[in-house]
Protein backbone atom coordinates (compact mmCIF):
# COMPACT_ATOMS: atom_id res chain seq x y z
CA UNK A 1 0.00 0.00 0.00
CA UNK A 2 2.67 2.49 0.98
CA UNK A 3 4.62 1.41 -2.10
CA UNK A 4 1.76 2.33 -4.41
CA UNK A 5 1.33 5.65 -2.60
CA UNK A 6 5.01 6.53 -2.81
CA UNK A 7 5.29 5.50 -6.46
CA UNK A 8 2.25 7.63 -7.33
CA UNK A 9 3.71 10.65 -5.56
CA UNK A 10 7.12 10.10 -7.18
CA UNK A 11 5.49 9.96 -10.60
CA UNK A 12 3.62 13.18 -9.86
CA UNK A 13 6.92 14.79 -8.90
CA UNK A 14 8.52 13.55 -12.11
CA UNK A 15 5.60 15.01 -14.05
CA UNK A 16 6.19 18.42 -12.48
CA UNK A 17 9.88 18.22 -13.37
CA UNK A 18 8.99 17.30 -16.95
CA UNK A 19 6.47 20.15 -17.20
CA UNK A 20 8.97 22.57 -15.67
CA UNK A 21 11.68 21.52 -18.11
CA UNK A 22 9.30 21.83 -21.06
CA UNK A 23 8.38 25.31 -19.84
CA UNK A 24 12.01 26.25 -19.39
CA UNK A 25 12.71 25.26 -22.98
CA UNK A 26 9.54 26.58 -24.57
CA UNK A 27 8.59 29.81 -22.79
CA UNK A 28 9.71 32.89 -24.69
CA UNK A 29 11.00 35.27 -22.00
CA UNK A 30 13.05 35.19 -18.79
CA UNK A 31 10.22 35.67 -16.23
CA UNK A 32 8.18 32.93 -17.89
CA UNK A 33 11.10 30.53 -17.81
CA UNK A 34 11.76 31.34 -14.17
CA UNK A 35 8.12 30.66 -13.43
CA UNK A 36 8.40 27.21 -15.02
CA UNK A 37 11.69 26.46 -13.32
CA UNK A 38 10.57 27.36 -9.81
CA UNK A 39 7.51 25.16 -10.11
CA UNK A 40 9.72 22.20 -10.94
CA UNK A 41 12.08 23.01 -8.10
CA UNK A 42 9.50 23.56 -5.40
CA UNK A 43 6.68 21.22 -6.20
CA UNK A 44 8.51 18.56 -8.19
CA UNK A 45 11.30 18.15 -5.69
CA UNK A 46 8.83 18.42 -2.81
CA UNK A 47 6.73 15.58 -4.19
CA UNK A 48 9.79 13.45 -4.88
CA UNK A 49 11.06 14.05 -1.34
CA UNK A 50 7.62 13.18 0.01
CA UNK A 51 7.49 9.98 -2.02
CA UNK A 52 10.95 8.98 -0.87
CA UNK A 53 10.09 9.84 2.74
CA UNK A 54 7.05 7.56 2.60
CA UNK A 55 9.22 4.84 1.11
CA UNK A 56 11.96 5.32 3.69
CA UNK A 57 9.82 5.68 6.77
CA UNK A 58 12.62 6.24 9.27
CA UNK A 59 12.65 9.47 11.23
CA UNK A 60 16.23 10.30 10.23
CA UNK A 61 15.52 9.79 6.54
CA UNK A 62 12.38 11.92 6.68
CA UNK A 63 14.16 14.75 8.47
CA UNK A 64 17.03 14.66 5.97
CA UNK A 65 14.64 14.75 3.02
CA UNK A 66 12.71 17.68 4.48
CA UNK A 67 16.00 19.46 5.06
CA UNK A 68 17.12 18.83 1.46
CA UNK A 69 13.81 20.14 0.17
CA UNK A 70 13.99 23.28 2.29
CA UNK A 71 17.58 23.98 1.20
CA UNK A 72 16.76 23.49 -2.48
CA UNK A 73 13.73 25.78 -2.17
CA UNK A 74 15.83 28.40 -0.43
CA UNK A 75 18.49 28.43 -3.14
CA UNK A 76 15.90 28.24 -5.93
CA UNK A 77 14.02 31.24 -4.54
CA UNK A 78 17.19 33.24 -4.24
CA UNK A 79 18.60 32.43 -7.67
CA UNK A 80 15.22 33.06 -9.30
CA UNK A 81 15.04 36.41 -7.53
CA UNK A 82 18.56 37.36 -8.57
CA UNK A 83 18.01 36.38 -12.21
CA UNK A 84 14.69 38.25 -12.31
CA UNK A 85 16.33 41.32 -10.81
CA UNK A 86 19.14 41.18 -13.35
CA UNK A 87 16.54 40.87 -16.10
CA UNK A 88 14.64 43.92 -14.81
CA UNK A 89 17.72 46.14 -14.59
CA UNK A 90 18.75 45.09 -18.08
CA UNK A 91 15.28 45.93 -19.40
CA UNK A 92 15.06 49.33 -17.72
CA UNK A 93 18.57 50.14 -18.98
CA UNK A 94 17.51 49.22 -22.49
CA UNK A 95 14.45 51.45 -22.20
CA UNK A 96 16.48 54.42 -21.02
CA UNK A 97 18.96 54.18 -23.87
Amino acid sequence: MTDILSITILLMGAFFFLAGTAGLLRFPDTPGRLHALTKADNLGLGLICLGLAIHDGSLQGILLLVFIWLLAMFSATLSAFLIARWHETRRSEAEHD
Binding site: L71, F74, T77, L78, F81, L82, R85
Partner: protein, 320 residues
Protein backbone atom coordinates in the same frame (compact mmCIF):
# COMPACT_ATOMS: atom_id res chain seq x y z
CA UNK B 1 17.05 -8.88 -17.60
CA UNK B 2 18.23 -5.31 -17.15
CA UNK B 3 19.66 -4.38 -13.81
CA UNK B 4 17.78 -1.60 -11.98
CA UNK B 5 20.60 0.92 -12.14
CA UNK B 6 21.51 0.21 -15.75
CA UNK B 7 19.21 2.79 -17.30
CA UNK B 8 20.44 5.50 -14.93
CA UNK B 9 24.06 4.61 -15.70
CA UNK B 10 23.36 4.67 -19.42
CA UNK B 11 21.70 8.08 -19.13
CA UNK B 12 24.63 9.36 -17.07
CA UNK B 13 27.18 8.14 -19.62
CA UNK B 14 25.28 9.60 -22.57
CA UNK B 15 24.69 12.84 -20.69
CA UNK B 16 28.37 13.14 -19.80
CA UNK B 17 29.48 12.57 -23.39
CA UNK B 18 26.83 14.89 -24.81
CA UNK B 19 27.53 17.73 -22.40
CA UNK B 20 31.29 17.36 -22.80
CA UNK B 21 30.86 17.54 -26.56
CA UNK B 22 28.60 20.56 -26.50
CA UNK B 23 30.82 22.34 -23.97
CA UNK B 24 33.78 21.96 -26.32
CA UNK B 25 31.89 22.77 -29.48
CA UNK B 26 29.58 25.53 -28.25
CA UNK B 27 30.12 29.07 -29.39
CA UNK B 28 30.58 31.65 -26.69
CA UNK B 29 32.50 31.34 -23.46
CA UNK B 30 29.57 31.80 -21.12
CA UNK B 31 27.65 28.93 -22.66
CA UNK B 32 30.70 26.67 -22.56
CA UNK B 33 31.34 27.56 -18.91
CA UNK B 34 27.79 26.78 -17.81
CA UNK B 35 27.93 23.49 -19.70
CA UNK B 36 31.22 22.71 -17.98
CA UNK B 37 29.59 23.26 -14.59
CA UNK B 38 26.71 20.96 -15.55
CA UNK B 39 29.32 18.43 -16.64
CA UNK B 40 30.90 18.68 -13.18
CA UNK B 41 27.56 18.01 -11.51
CA UNK B 42 26.92 14.97 -13.69
CA UNK B 43 30.46 13.79 -12.98
CA UNK B 44 29.79 14.09 -9.25
CA UNK B 45 26.66 11.97 -9.70
CA UNK B 46 28.73 9.44 -11.63
CA UNK B 47 31.28 9.18 -8.83
CA UNK B 48 28.43 8.72 -6.39
CA UNK B 49 27.07 5.90 -8.58
CA UNK B 50 30.54 4.33 -8.61
CA UNK B 51 30.42 4.42 -4.79
CA UNK B 52 33.22 6.92 -4.48
CA UNK B 53 31.59 9.56 -2.25
CA UNK B 54 34.90 11.28 -1.52
CA UNK B 55 35.47 11.94 -5.20
CA UNK B 56 31.84 12.92 -5.68
CA UNK B 57 32.13 15.54 -2.95
CA UNK B 58 35.41 16.86 -4.31
CA UNK B 59 34.09 17.00 -7.86
CA UNK B 60 30.93 18.84 -6.81
CA UNK B 61 32.75 21.33 -4.61
CA UNK B 62 35.89 21.98 -6.66
CA UNK B 63 35.16 20.75 -10.19
CA UNK B 64 31.67 22.15 -10.60
CA UNK B 65 31.61 24.83 -7.92
CA UNK B 66 34.86 26.70 -7.52
CA UNK B 67 36.31 26.03 -10.97
CA UNK B 68 33.00 27.16 -12.41
CA UNK B 69 33.19 30.39 -10.44
CA UNK B 70 36.76 30.95 -11.62
CA UNK B 71 35.80 30.33 -15.24
CA UNK B 72 32.78 32.63 -14.98
CA UNK B 73 35.14 35.28 -13.71
CA UNK B 74 37.40 34.75 -16.70
CA UNK B 75 34.36 35.10 -18.98
CA UNK B 76 33.47 38.37 -17.33
CA UNK B 77 37.03 39.63 -17.70
CA UNK B 78 37.16 38.98 -21.44
CA UNK B 79 33.67 40.43 -21.85
CA UNK B 80 34.60 43.64 -20.03
CA UNK B 81 37.79 43.92 -22.01
CA UNK B 82 35.87 43.63 -25.22
CA UNK B 83 33.34 46.20 -24.01
CA UNK B 84 36.18 48.56 -23.16
CA UNK B 85 37.18 48.37 -26.80
CA UNK B 86 40.62 47.09 -26.07
CA UNK B 87 42.29 45.40 -29.00
CA UNK B 88 41.37 42.08 -27.49
CA UNK B 89 39.65 40.59 -30.48
CA UNK B 90 42.96 39.52 -31.94
CA UNK B 91 44.21 37.87 -28.76
CA UNK B 92 40.93 36.22 -27.95
CA UNK B 93 40.08 34.55 -31.21
CA UNK B 94 42.74 31.98 -32.14
CA UNK B 95 43.10 31.13 -35.80
CA UNK B 96 42.08 27.94 -37.53
CA UNK B 97 45.59 26.46 -37.47
CA UNK B 98 45.83 27.06 -33.74
CA UNK B 99 42.47 25.41 -33.16
CA UNK B 100 43.35 22.40 -35.30
CA UNK B 101 46.70 21.90 -33.56
CA UNK B 102 45.04 22.21 -30.14
CA UNK B 103 42.30 19.76 -31.13
CA UNK B 104 44.86 17.31 -32.52
CA UNK B 105 46.99 17.44 -29.38
CA UNK B 106 43.93 17.02 -27.15
CA UNK B 107 42.76 14.00 -29.11
CA UNK B 108 46.24 12.50 -28.91
CA UNK B 109 46.33 13.04 -25.16
CA UNK B 110 42.86 11.57 -24.71
CA UNK B 111 43.76 8.56 -26.85
CA UNK B 112 46.97 8.02 -24.90
CA UNK B 113 45.18 8.23 -21.58
CA UNK B 114 42.44 5.89 -22.78
CA UNK B 115 45.04 3.39 -23.94
CA UNK B 116 46.84 3.59 -20.59
CA UNK B 117 43.62 3.20 -18.62
CA UNK B 118 42.52 0.30 -20.77
CA UNK B 119 45.66 -1.69 -20.20
CA UNK B 120 45.64 -0.91 -16.47
CA UNK B 121 44.80 -3.84 -14.24
CA UNK B 122 42.52 -2.17 -11.76
CA UNK B 123 42.07 -3.02 -8.11
CA UNK B 124 44.00 -6.29 -7.98
CA UNK B 125 47.60 -5.20 -8.17
CA UNK B 126 49.90 -5.94 -5.23
CA UNK B 127 49.75 -2.31 -4.07
CA UNK B 128 45.95 -2.36 -3.93
CA UNK B 129 45.90 -5.64 -2.02
CA UNK B 130 48.44 -4.33 0.46
CA UNK B 131 46.61 -1.04 0.88
CA UNK B 132 43.40 -2.93 1.55
CA UNK B 133 44.88 -5.30 4.10
CA UNK B 134 46.90 -2.58 5.85
CA UNK B 135 44.00 -0.14 5.69
CA UNK B 136 41.67 -2.40 7.61
CA UNK B 137 43.73 -2.18 10.77
CA UNK B 138 44.64 1.47 10.24
CA UNK B 139 43.81 4.07 12.88
CA UNK B 140 41.95 6.12 10.25
CA UNK B 141 38.63 4.65 9.21
CA UNK B 142 38.29 6.25 5.79
CA UNK B 143 40.42 4.38 3.22
CA UNK B 144 40.71 7.49 1.03
CA UNK B 145 42.10 9.52 3.92
CA UNK B 146 44.45 6.65 4.77
CA UNK B 147 45.90 6.85 1.27
CA UNK B 148 45.97 10.67 1.17
CA UNK B 149 47.51 11.29 4.56
CA UNK B 150 49.52 8.15 5.23
CA UNK B 151 50.33 5.77 2.35
CA UNK B 152 50.76 8.53 -0.23
CA UNK B 153 51.25 11.50 2.08
CA UNK B 154 54.13 12.55 -0.17
CA UNK B 155 51.67 13.20 -3.02
CA UNK B 156 49.45 15.31 -0.80
CA UNK B 157 52.44 17.29 0.41
CA UNK B 158 53.46 18.06 -3.18
CA UNK B 159 49.85 18.87 -4.06
CA UNK B 160 49.84 21.55 -1.40
CA UNK B 161 53.05 22.95 -2.86
CA UNK B 162 51.44 23.01 -6.33
CA UNK B 163 48.41 24.86 -4.96
CA UNK B 164 50.58 27.48 -3.30
CA UNK B 165 52.73 27.86 -6.44
CA UNK B 166 49.60 28.31 -8.55
CA UNK B 167 48.45 31.15 -6.33
CA UNK B 168 51.87 32.80 -6.47
CA UNK B 169 51.90 32.43 -10.25
CA UNK B 170 48.47 34.03 -10.56
CA UNK B 171 49.58 36.97 -8.46
CA UNK B 172 52.74 37.45 -10.49
CA UNK B 173 50.64 37.51 -13.66
CA UNK B 174 48.22 40.02 -12.15
CA UNK B 175 51.07 42.32 -11.16
CA UNK B 176 52.63 41.87 -14.57
CA UNK B 177 49.54 42.80 -16.55
CA UNK B 178 48.61 45.90 -14.55
CA UNK B 179 44.89 45.47 -14.61
CA UNK B 180 42.61 48.18 -15.80
CA UNK B 181 39.56 49.07 -13.73
CA UNK B 182 37.42 46.13 -14.73
CA UNK B 183 34.81 45.93 -12.03
CA UNK B 184 33.12 49.08 -10.79
CA UNK B 185 33.57 49.03 -7.02
CA UNK B 186 29.90 49.29 -6.16
CA UNK B 187 28.93 47.33 -3.03
CA UNK B 188 25.59 45.78 -3.94
CA UNK B 189 22.91 44.99 -1.43
CA UNK B 190 19.75 43.61 -3.02
CA UNK B 191 16.90 42.81 -0.63
CA UNK B 192 17.41 39.04 -0.48
CA UNK B 193 21.10 39.23 0.29
CA UNK B 194 21.01 39.49 4.06
CA UNK B 195 18.73 36.46 4.52
CA UNK B 196 20.98 34.51 2.15
CA UNK B 197 24.07 35.28 4.17
CA UNK B 198 22.41 34.73 7.54
CA UNK B 199 21.19 31.30 6.48
CA UNK B 200 24.15 30.27 4.36
CA UNK B 201 26.95 31.26 6.73
CA UNK B 202 26.19 28.92 9.66
CA UNK B 203 25.11 26.11 7.33
CA UNK B 204 28.25 26.26 5.20
CA UNK B 205 30.52 26.68 8.22
CA UNK B 206 28.89 23.68 9.86
CA UNK B 207 29.02 21.56 6.71
CA UNK B 208 32.62 22.55 6.03
CA UNK B 209 33.84 21.81 9.52
CA UNK B 210 31.84 18.59 9.58
CA UNK B 211 33.51 17.43 6.37
CA UNK B 212 36.89 18.09 7.95
CA UNK B 213 35.97 16.30 11.18
CA UNK B 214 34.31 13.37 9.45
CA UNK B 215 37.12 13.01 6.92
CA UNK B 216 39.20 10.70 9.05
CA UNK B 217 36.42 8.14 9.47
CA UNK B 218 33.92 8.66 6.66
CA UNK B 219 33.73 10.54 3.32
CA UNK B 220 35.09 14.06 3.53
CA UNK B 221 38.47 15.58 4.19
CA UNK B 222 40.62 18.64 3.83
CA UNK B 223 39.99 19.30 0.14
CA UNK B 224 36.21 19.03 0.27
CA UNK B 225 36.02 21.01 3.48
CA UNK B 226 38.42 23.66 2.23
CA UNK B 227 36.45 24.06 -1.00
CA UNK B 228 33.21 24.56 0.93
CA UNK B 229 34.75 27.16 3.22
CA UNK B 230 36.25 28.88 0.18
CA UNK B 231 32.80 28.93 -1.42
CA UNK B 232 31.52 30.76 1.64
CA UNK B 233 34.34 33.26 1.17
CA UNK B 234 33.38 33.62 -2.51
CA UNK B 235 29.86 34.51 -1.38
CA UNK B 236 31.23 37.21 0.88
CA UNK B 237 33.59 38.42 -1.82
CA UNK B 238 30.84 38.69 -4.44
CA UNK B 239 28.52 40.60 -2.14
CA UNK B 240 31.17 43.12 -1.19
CA UNK B 241 31.59 41.90 2.41
CA UNK B 242 35.18 40.95 1.76
CA UNK B 243 37.15 43.73 0.16
CA UNK B 244 40.53 42.94 -1.37
CA UNK B 245 43.49 44.98 -0.24
CA UNK B 246 46.63 45.82 -2.11
CA UNK B 247 48.87 43.60 -0.01
CA UNK B 248 48.11 40.48 1.98
CA UNK B 249 48.20 40.83 5.75
CA UNK B 250 50.68 38.68 7.72
CA UNK B 251 47.79 36.65 9.15
CA UNK B 252 46.53 35.79 5.69
CA UNK B 253 50.02 34.84 4.54
CA UNK B 254 50.36 32.57 7.54
CA UNK B 255 47.06 30.84 6.76
CA UNK B 256 48.10 30.40 3.13
CA UNK B 257 51.32 28.58 4.01
CA UNK B 258 50.38 26.87 7.26
CA UNK B 259 49.19 23.64 5.59
CA UNK B 260 52.36 23.15 3.60
CA UNK B 261 54.55 24.38 6.47
CA UNK B 262 53.08 22.05 9.10
CA UNK B 263 53.11 19.11 6.73
CA UNK B 264 56.77 19.72 5.79
CA UNK B 265 57.69 20.21 9.42
CA UNK B 266 56.06 16.89 10.25
CA UNK B 267 57.86 15.22 7.34
CA UNK B 268 61.21 16.34 8.74
CA UNK B 269 60.31 15.69 12.36
CA UNK B 270 59.29 12.13 11.52
CA UNK B 271 62.98 11.40 10.96
CA UNK B 272 63.47 11.75 14.72
CA UNK B 273 61.29 8.80 15.64
CA UNK B 274 61.55 6.72 12.50
CA UNK B 275 63.86 6.11 9.57
CA UNK B 276 61.52 7.52 6.91
CA UNK B 277 59.90 10.94 6.55
CA UNK B 278 56.11 11.27 6.89
CA UNK B 279 55.93 8.28 9.25
CA UNK B 280 53.34 8.69 11.99
CA UNK B 281 54.52 8.01 15.56
CA UNK B 282 52.94 5.16 17.51
CA UNK B 283 51.37 7.47 20.06
CA UNK B 284 49.27 10.52 19.26
CA UNK B 285 49.06 9.64 15.57
CA UNK B 286 45.38 10.49 15.39
CA UNK B 287 45.68 13.95 16.91
CA UNK B 288 48.62 14.63 14.60
CA UNK B 289 46.48 13.72 11.60
CA UNK B 290 43.70 16.00 12.82
CA UNK B 291 46.13 18.86 13.33
CA UNK B 292 47.69 18.47 9.88
CA UNK B 293 44.34 18.04 8.20
CA UNK B 294 42.97 21.16 9.89
CA UNK B 295 45.98 23.18 8.73
CA UNK B 296 45.51 21.77 5.22
CA UNK B 297 41.82 22.74 5.30
CA UNK B 298 42.63 26.32 6.28
CA UNK B 299 45.32 26.66 3.63
CA UNK B 300 43.19 25.12 0.89
CA UNK B 301 40.23 27.37 1.73
CA UNK B 302 42.38 30.50 1.80
CA UNK B 303 44.24 29.58 -1.40
CA UNK B 304 41.07 28.84 -3.36
CA UNK B 305 39.45 32.04 -2.10
CA UNK B 306 42.50 34.10 -3.02
CA UNK B 307 42.60 32.50 -6.48
CA UNK B 308 39.01 33.60 -6.96
CA UNK B 309 39.38 36.98 -5.36
CA UNK B 310 42.45 37.89 -7.39
CA UNK B 311 41.09 36.76 -10.73
CA UNK B 312 40.57 39.28 -13.47
CA UNK B 313 36.79 39.44 -13.51
CA UNK B 314 36.69 40.99 -10.05
CA UNK B 315 39.79 43.09 -10.24
CA UNK B 316 39.46 46.65 -9.03
CA UNK B 317 42.15 48.76 -10.51
CA UNK B 318 44.79 49.32 -7.88
CA UNK B 319 47.17 50.73 -10.42
CA UNK B 320 45.63 54.08 -11.31
Amino acid sequence: MIEPGFLLDLLLCLGLLGIAGSAVLSRGQFRATVLFMVFGLLMALTWARLQAPDLALAEAAIGAGLTGALLLNACKATYTRRQAGEAASQDDAPGTVFRLVAAGLSILLAAGLAWLMYSLTVADGPAAAMARSEGESHFLGNPVTVVLLDFRAYDTLLEMAVLLLALIGVHILIRHYRLPDLHPPAPVSPPMLTPLLTVATPLMLMAGLYLFWAGSQSPGGAFQSGALLAALGVLYRLTGRLVPTGTASPGLRLILVIGLALFSLFACAALIWSSAPLQYPETAAYSLVLLIEFALTLSIAATLLMLFSGSLGLARGQTS
